[in-house]
Amino acid sequence: MGKFLVRRLVNYVVLIMLATTFAYLLAATTLSPRVNYEERSPRPTEEQVDQRLDELNLNDKTPLAERWVVWASGVAKGDFGKTVTGTPVNDEIERRVWVSLRLIIVGTVLGSVIGVAVGAYAAVKQYRLFDKASTAGAFFVLAVPAVVIALSLQVFATMFNQAVGAQVFVYNGEGTLGLEAGFWGTLWDRLKHMILPTLALALAQFAAFSRYQRNMMLDVLGSDFVRTARAKGLNRRDALLKHALRTALIPTVTYFTFTFGVMMAGTTFTEKIYNWNGMGSWVVDSIVTNDVHAVAAVSCFMAVCIMAASFLSDILYAWLDPRVRVS
């Protein structure tokens, strides 16, 4: 089992390296930092620009392979290079990574746990009111693009705030700038800012998971081993929780990896719309400013996140399913 996980881990590291390299090559060939200097006044001379770009390892006159080697050897040492403005990419990552992770982790956990619970319960109550309502809700969310959900949440929040006459929901930034309210006050402020963007992310996760879990649960509900469990003397609730849901969770764990990719894309919009200075909004900004190294760094971050998610689901899978563990 340990060997299996180590092998998977090595695979993931290779995949992350490949994904980051491709992202770098794509960014380096399509983005042109030189353009940034063309609109400056006074316009710097070509030599000045070349010199500056050489410092940043962004000069398109240097062969791509050469630039890549410099960049890659830096990355190997843990240095993602410099941004177009000359500041280290690493500093920026440090500033932004927790902003994004907070959103992603809370959104994922919330969305998947509620999704699984609602899906499983809907399966037990198949064709009853709860099932019909959750099905309608899930399909509605699935049918609406993530952007529209994020924006509509803002609209609803505004309406709610106006109705109540207080700033209950805040949807701009991740915290009030310059707030001096002590630890609890700051935490409360952060929470208020977090609710809406997290909800926007979690909703999509919830919709996908509840549908999937409902189907998986329906598959096992009529199965013989649930009947055996009840014939043993377990009451309905225990048989459903300990035997049916436990078994029906296994396929959902693999499904987790797939939805996580979609979720990462969703983070980009959400951060942009809610004005969070996370990794997602950074990648959008960097494309506009032709910031090759930033784009590569964010791609690397996303690759790491997705691989971490699949590794987690590997572990969960092995934990849930003894058939993998034993053979």
């Binding site: 199965s223 013989d224 009840r230 078994t247 399913d321």
Partner: protein
């Protein structure tokens, strides 16, 4: 555990009186129809009572309501089922109990063993934990360690070797037979007073069935429980039960002591059932007695007796009202038929009541097989599957010896029965023959043409002469094709002239006993037996010389099965066909085959004329196989003692050295060490054991009568 034991023994004294443990009376179960559909009346007025230590058999075909009535007793029917009547356990009414109170009874005083052990255990928990859970759910005071100890005890009781180690095993590491043992352990964990067994051996091979029946007897001895044995197998019931209940269309139609029901049958349906079973102990080949027609739909029952449309004794009175169970003859014997009196008076049996099908002329007037043409010649056929490991760089880590050098031939007009337990390689043999490709080793010659030598065109020609009928009539017919197209497809593929197509299809449908007027219907409108007839018609369309039959009747109910077997017999005589008949049911094979080959782990261990092989098998495996099959005759069955094989079929990836049957062989154990050496070192070849080319692959082959 002491607390429970005291409680149990006190309860035993209280229960030892003649008061019934389980009393079911006037039980009705109805499933409301979906939408505006009619209700399905699955059980209509079942009643029986069960005393302590008694075994009651409930017999009936699929859809007769035997399982539904027992699930009702367990309170495990779906919520939408409407259950009325009364089920009393120790005098306490079970119907209407809420989930909590019913859960306290389930597994404690009444428990159940289900049909399919492969899906009956939760795949993600260790088997020991699943048994311990059954203990702890009713005795929360028992600690986890104590419950685990008890689970190990129970595993030992049901015959799992090394129970302490096997406790931690997961269900997928156990074979079907071992999982069924675990299910039994769960059922008896709390010493229940009633155990309901719902076809507990139907999904298992005969040698494993014999083991499981032994375990059930042990379990009953240990717990002193009353057992309800639900089955469709009249052989299993004969030797095991005290009383039996025959069900038809949701109604009990005959109930009584097992001898009364078997020897003094008073209900025409029971007679039909008994007459339609092919019997292993039948010396001569008489045609089976099928019951015509099909069981009625439970949502549209006829007014009078539901069996009347199929009954040869039906009179006008039968369609007026449904007959109630009337006492007949011996005490406790009752039958639901208006003509029981007459049956009793005349002493009618199945042979008198049912019109005997005309005996076919099979086998008569044929020259001896040496002078007949050989239709199929298999010589040293080998099929090995490599076991691969690794994702990118695959390497071979082993070999599955699915078919490991088998030889046989089929003469014109002959039926060869290929028998063996699941996993012995009989299906692989079939597929190799049908593929018409060059085998990995050995030679397959079909009608004088060697497989693999033929070009594309010639192979197409050979396919005309070799056709196949599959096991499952539900999945072997395309549900989107009309019956006409199903049967016409091979004709069209082989460019049959368009003009005669309809005539030929009608001819074929008539031949297999179907109405050509139904040709425009779809397969799902037919019953299982009728669908199998469609499959046979399709196989016969090209006038083949050899028909390969892969378990053609094993998915059918006995009364339907008899009709299909008779049809196959008739067709063989009429059309001069040869059959390669693969089956695991030896009674069916005895009935239909001229010669029989017994397979074990990819090898033929015994081959010979059916009469010779069945009356005096020489290989210990054949002997065990035959003795494990219960005979539908209570007196005979009680005196027989089956040779119970130990363990399961070894993995075909690592067969034992020397004789492959050695580890399970009862004979091997009786030999001296010096004699055993031969079995360990050398694999025995097929040696003749008598004049009539009857051969057995055993160093110490010895003819013996076991049936």
């Amino acid at each position: 555990m002491t607390g429970t034991e005291i409680q149990t023994s006190a309860a035993v004294e209280q229960r030892n009186g003649s008061a019934p443990v389980l009393e079911v009376s006037d039980l009705h179960v109805t499933f409301p129809g979906e939408g505006k559909g009619p209700d399905i009346r699955a059980v209509r007025g079942v009643g029986y009572s069960l005393r302590r230590g008694e075994i009651l058999g409930i017999v009936g075909e699929s859809g007769s309501g035997k399982s539904v009535s027992s699930l009702a007793a367990m309170g495990l029917l779906p919520d939408h089922a409407r259950v009325t009547g009364s089920i009393r356990l120790h005098g306490e009414e079970l119907l209407g109990l809420d989930d909590r109170r019913m859960s306290a009874k389930r597994g404690e005083t009444i428990s159940m063993i289900f049909q399919d052990p492969l899906s009956g255990l939760t795949p993600v928990y260790a088997v020991g934990d699943q048994i311990a859970e059954a203990v702890r759910v009713h005795n929360p005071a028992v600690s986890k360690a104590e419950a685990a100890d008890r689970a190990v005890e129970l595993l030992e009781l049901v015959g799992i070797p090394n129970p302490a180690q096997r406790y931690r095993a997961f269900p997928h590491e156990f074979s079907g037979g071992m999982r069924q043992r675990v299910m039994i352990a769960i059922a008896i964990a709390n010493g229940p007073d009633v155990i309901i067994c719902d076809e507990p051996t139907t999904a298992l091979d005969v040698t494993i069935q014999a083991q499981i029946l032994e375990v059930l007897k042990t379990a009953q001895r240990e717990t002193g429980a009353a057992i309800v044995m639900i089955t469709h197998d009249l052989g299993v019931v004969a030797g095991l039960v005290d009383r039996m209940l025959v069900m038809y269309a949701g109604r009990p139609v005959e109930i009584g002591a097992v001898d009364d029901v078997y020897y003094r049958t008073r209900m025409p349906y029971t007679m039909g059932l008994l007459g339609s079973v092919p019997r292993l102990d039948d010396e001569e080949k008489a045609p089976l007695i099928p019951i015509r027609g099909n069981p009625p739909s439970l949502s549209a029952l006829p007014s009078g007796c539901p069996f009347a449309p199929r009954c040869p004794l039906a009179i006008d009175a039968c369609s007026e009202a449904e007959p109630e169970l009337q006492p007949v003859g011996a005490e406790g014997h009752a039958a639901a038929c208006v003509r029981t009196g007459e049956i009793e008076e005349h002493g009618w049996s199945a042979a008198d009541v049912y019109p005997l099908p005309e005996a076919s002329g099979a086998g008569s007037g044929q020259p001896p097989r040496e002078y007949r043409e050989t239709v199929l010649d298999v010589d040293g056929l080998v099929k090995h599957h490599p076991l691969m490991k690794g994702a990118v760089f695959k390497r071979r880590v082993g070999t599955v010896y699915a078919v490991d050098g088998i030889s046989f031939e089929i003469a014109e007009g002959e039926t060869l029965g290929l028998v063996g337990e699941s996993g012995c390689g009989k299906s692989s043999t079939l597929m190799e023959i049908l593929s018409l490709r060059t085998p990995q080793s050995g030679k397959v010659t079909v009608l004088g043409r060697e497989s693999g030598r033929a070009g594309h065109r010639e192979r197409f020609e050979i396919r005309r002469d070799v056709q196949v009928v599959f096991q499952d009539p539900m999945s072997s017919l395309d549900p989107r094709m009309q019956v006409f197209d199903v049967v016409a497809e091979p004709l069209r593929t082989h460019r049959h002239p368009r003009a005669g197509l309809r005539a030929r299809v009608n001819e074929l449908l008539t031949l297999v006993g179907l109405d050509p007027a139904h040709a425009a219907r779809y397969p799902q409108e037919f019953s299982g037996g009728q669908r199998q007839r469609i499959g046979i018609a399709r196989a016969l369309a090209l006038k083949p010389k050899l028909l390969v039959l892969d378990e053609p009747v094993s998915a059918l109910d006995v009364s339907i099965q008899a009709g299909v077997i008779n049809l196959l017999d008739d067709l063989k005589a009429e059309l001069g066909l040869s059959y390669l008949f693969v089956a695991h049911d030896l009674s069916v094979v005895r009935h239909i085959a001229d010669r029989v080959a017994v397979m074990y782990l990819g090898r033929i261990v015994e081959i010979g004329a059916a009469d010779s092989l069945f009356s005096a098998p020489a290989h210990p495996y054949t002997q065990a196989l035959l003795s494990a099959i219960p005979v539908p005759d209570p007196e005979k069955e009680r005196t027989r003692s089956p040779i119970v094989l130990e363990g399961d079929l070894p993995s075909p990836a690592s067969p034992p050295s020397g004789c492959r049957f050695r580890p399970r062989c009862p004979k091997f154990r009786t030999l001296s060490t010096a004699e055993q050496q031969a079995c360990v070192d050398t694999e025995p070849g097929l040696n003749a054991v008598s004049q009539d080319d009857h051969g057995a692959a055993c160093h110490y082959a010895e003819k013996r009568t076991v049936v």
